[in-house]
Symmetry: C2
Subunit: 250 residues, 2 copies
């Protein structure tokens, strides 16, 4: 019996998210079906967490336990030959028997990409959030600082989520420009449902002047979803890293 | 009667190229249909040139002559509201009556993007050429110099093309890395059918060691398609600029 850790990139555009659900095409299901062909039996994989429809991953992590004879390092090539081009196994390594991609994760890094141009970009449409209004990046950077640290992020969670413990620790939240793209990078011990997208939407609202920088601490403290900004759309979001040791913040 | 110059971006993935043809979805046709809705009559647009299926444009240029009352600067917004998200009109200006997007073009700039990673990238799959073999970029840069200037590029043209005058002037050919992407930039007074893709394929063949740098001048001189490298695939290619005045090479 081997326990295998996979690092996975996917283009979430045409998937109903990561997690298996009836009557929907999901990343987990597509990978499990390909894995079944290699292993000649059904294999269940554990993802580090869900991603929503349209959300991408550069470094999603999953693991599976199975008895098999092919060398672990051959798994990416074997799986990629069967997977659609929207999914790619970037790496596979054998890990200790007790490793679990979700339970052992101690942090995650998300990237959120914004295209802040005057006119929409066809090339970037599925991979960025198009914001045509001018953004005050300095104010967005100032707003970031208020999110860092341990807070109750109840107000930054989709209201339909049933999670009770809403305290999370954000290790780093940065906004920076890379060519024509504005990038928000968020690293934390975990994120609530839609939390990164609501933080991104709130930062955009700060950028366009709809929310004041100095109001951010009160918005967080209020715990009220309606005080925070809008939920930025899924196509700008990328699960970029999952940490199994505490990350060192640059 | 106004003559209007459009600058157009498109994602060529799901188009059978620029030019109208029967039983195929083309960029020109989709724009003409939207324009017809605004102008309440059929409008023919002149593109600066064709692009193949799967090829993208950041700065395709087209013009059309028509009598209409809406301000020219409102055309991008009006057209973009009707166009699919794969096409965007970036700019519209009124130009002199005798301007023609194809006949008046004096040069073009193409960009060719290569993803030179170990494992294929889902996010980049429709926007780059995936080359998993290591590339010697220094050798590719050296090869570029041999292409610059006026040459008979007969050997760098798809064999099915019927063009007789195969002499073209390449003003600049550069290879450089931008993050994880290798970019080939080609500026010239014009390019033969598939010429940029064959130059890109030849440069990749130099990069992987299949073609020697010092053989490039003889390959060009031979005028034989089979001496040059492979035709790089369409999805890495972007028509980035069309010049109506001679460009200044940086």
């Amino acid at each position: 019996m081997k326990n295998v850790k996979l690092i996975i990139e996917y283009d979430g555009t045409n998937f109903s998210g990561w997690q298996i659900q009836p009557n929907a095409r999901t990343v987990q299901e597509v990978i499990e079906k390909s894995l079944e062909k290699i292993m000649k039996k059904p294999v269940k994989i554990n993802g580090s967490g869900r991603t929503d429809a349209g959300v991408h991953a550069l470094g999603q992590v999953a693991n599976f336990c199975e008895k098999f004879s092919i060398p672990v390092e051959k798994i990416p090539l074997a799986l990629n030959a069967l997977l659609p081009k929207e999914i790619s196994i970037k790496n596979a390594i054998e890990v200790p028997k007790d490793f679990h991609a979700r339970y052992n994760a101690v942090g995650k890094e998300y990237i959120y990409k914004i295209y802040n141009g005057a006119i929409r970009s066809p090339i970037l449409r599925n991979y960025t959030y198009f914001v045509p209004k001018p953004l005050n990046i300095e104010k967005m950077k100032m707003a970031c600082d208020y999110f860092v640290g341990e807070h109750d992020f109840k107000g930054f969670m989709a209201s339909k989520s049933g999670v009770v413990d809403t305290i999370r620790n954000i290790y780093a939240l940065q906004v920076y420009k890379k060519d024509e793209i504005l990038i928000i990078k968020a690293i934390g011990n975990g994120f609530l449902y839609n939390m990164v997208r609501i933080i991104a939407g709130t930062l955009v609202d700060v950028g366009i002047g709809k929310i004041k920088v100095e109001d951010i601490p009160y918005i967080i403290k209020s715990g009220k979803r309606e005080k925070a900004g809008h939920t930025a759309p899924p196509q700008g979001l990328y699960l970029s890293k999952v940490f199994y040791q505490l990350p060192i913040i640059p």
